[in-house]
Every structure is written in C-alpha cells, then in structure tokens.
Amino acid sequence: SAVISQKPSRDICQRGTSLTIQCQVDSQVTMMFWYRQQPGQSLTLIATANQGSEATYESGFVIDKFPISRPNLTFSTLTVSNMSPEDSSIYLCSVGAGEDQPQHFGDGTRLSIL
C-alpha cells in the first residue's frame, strides 16, 4: 500500500491565522481525501481532491475556509483559514486506490488553536 506522509504532525496556532497541511504520497494516486476528526469524535469527510479538477466539498465545508490544492498525482495541501478554537481537530489525508480497494491514511495533523 502507498506510504503517506503528512506535515506538520502537530501545531499550536493563534486564532485568526491560517495553517497549510501537506500530504505527500510515494506513488501516483487519482483520489485523495481530507478528513477532520474533532476531539472524541469520528472522522468527517471535508472534501475530495482529484488531480486536474477542483476539489469537491461535503455539506458544511466551504472552499473559503478549507482551500485545497492538488498540483500533481502525489501531493495535496489543505489550508485551514482564519482559525478559531472550534477548528482544533486532527486533520487526516487519505488516498483511494479505486474500486474494491480500501483507503489508506496518513498519520494526521493534530491542530490546537489558542
């Protein structure tokens, strides 16, 4: 399975600032996904990032708050903009290998907003 590296692994940020999270894969993949895991909660899909097209966002998530880039088949970034304490979560990227294959996840970015 693909090896997925996320950076940073954790960060503490001031409210009102923005942070960009990077996701690097060791092989070319078509589908990449970004999830949020709020404290004590399960994972919620933020958006799907496919190379060559705009990211598609799930209900409740907007591009202005969570802009995503997907410049090539091995890399994606998620920016958390104008952060507030409610954005304190673990953010995870995953890659999908297609039909009948499971998604594989990075180690996540633990974000705390003061």
Binding site: S42, T44, L45, L92
Partner: protein, 111 residues
C-alpha cells in the same frame, strides 16, 4: 443519509479475554472497512468486507459481514495490550469512493 452506529462505545477488558465490536448501518453496505486508530494518530487498515456472509481473519482479529449487508462485527480473540486503541468501521457511500465512519469503539486492554 447513511449512518453507521458502533457498539459498544468503549470497552475495558482483561488481557486474554475475547471481545466483539459491532457496526450497524442504516442502509445496505457496498463495502465495509475496519480500521484501528492509536490515540491521536492515523488510521491503520485492518480488513475489508464486501460480500454478504463474508468473513475474514488476520492474526487474532476476525471480521464478518451479515447476509443482508447491514451489520458487521469485529471479534478479537485472546486480547493483548497491543490491541488497545479506537476501532472504526467505515463504509463506501453508495459506490462513490467517499467514506462515512462509525462512531468508534475505544478499547483498553488491562495487562
């Protein structure tokens, strides 16, 4: 919209004991995935189930999908402290490759 409900929410067992975690879907499952998450870290893929009645095993963990494809169980035999973590079931939303996840089960194994 489809929802996944896991039970129990948390579990504390003595080392060596068997345990079962359940995942129930509000709709027919196209694919059911079990993951383990160490606290605050990424998800580790355990098993994938697609066919009604399917059962898979890896080391001491067995997962089953019922015939109606609306419920799955994860069974751990002779639990060890290394099994501790959060177990999450995930499902493909109607063949979209997008996943929804269950509420999670926190497992603690006492040595």
């Amino acid at each position: 919209s489809q929802e996944l409900e896991q039970s129990p929410q948390s579990l504390i067992v003595q080392e060596g004991k068997n345990l079962t975690i359940n995942c129930t879907s509000s709709k027919t499952l196209y694919g059911l995935y079990w993951y383990k998450q160490k606290y605050g870290e990424g998800l580790i893929f355990l098993m994938m189930l697609q066919k009604g009645g399917e059962e898979k095993s890896h080391e001491k963990i067995t997962a089953k999908l019922d015939e109606k494809k609306q419920q799955s169980s994860l069974h751990i035999t002779a639990s060890q402290p290394s099994h501790a973590g959060i177990y999450l079931c995930g499902a493909d939303k109607g063949g979209t490759y997008k996943y929804i996840f269950g509420t999670g089960t926190r497992l603690k194994v006492l040595a």
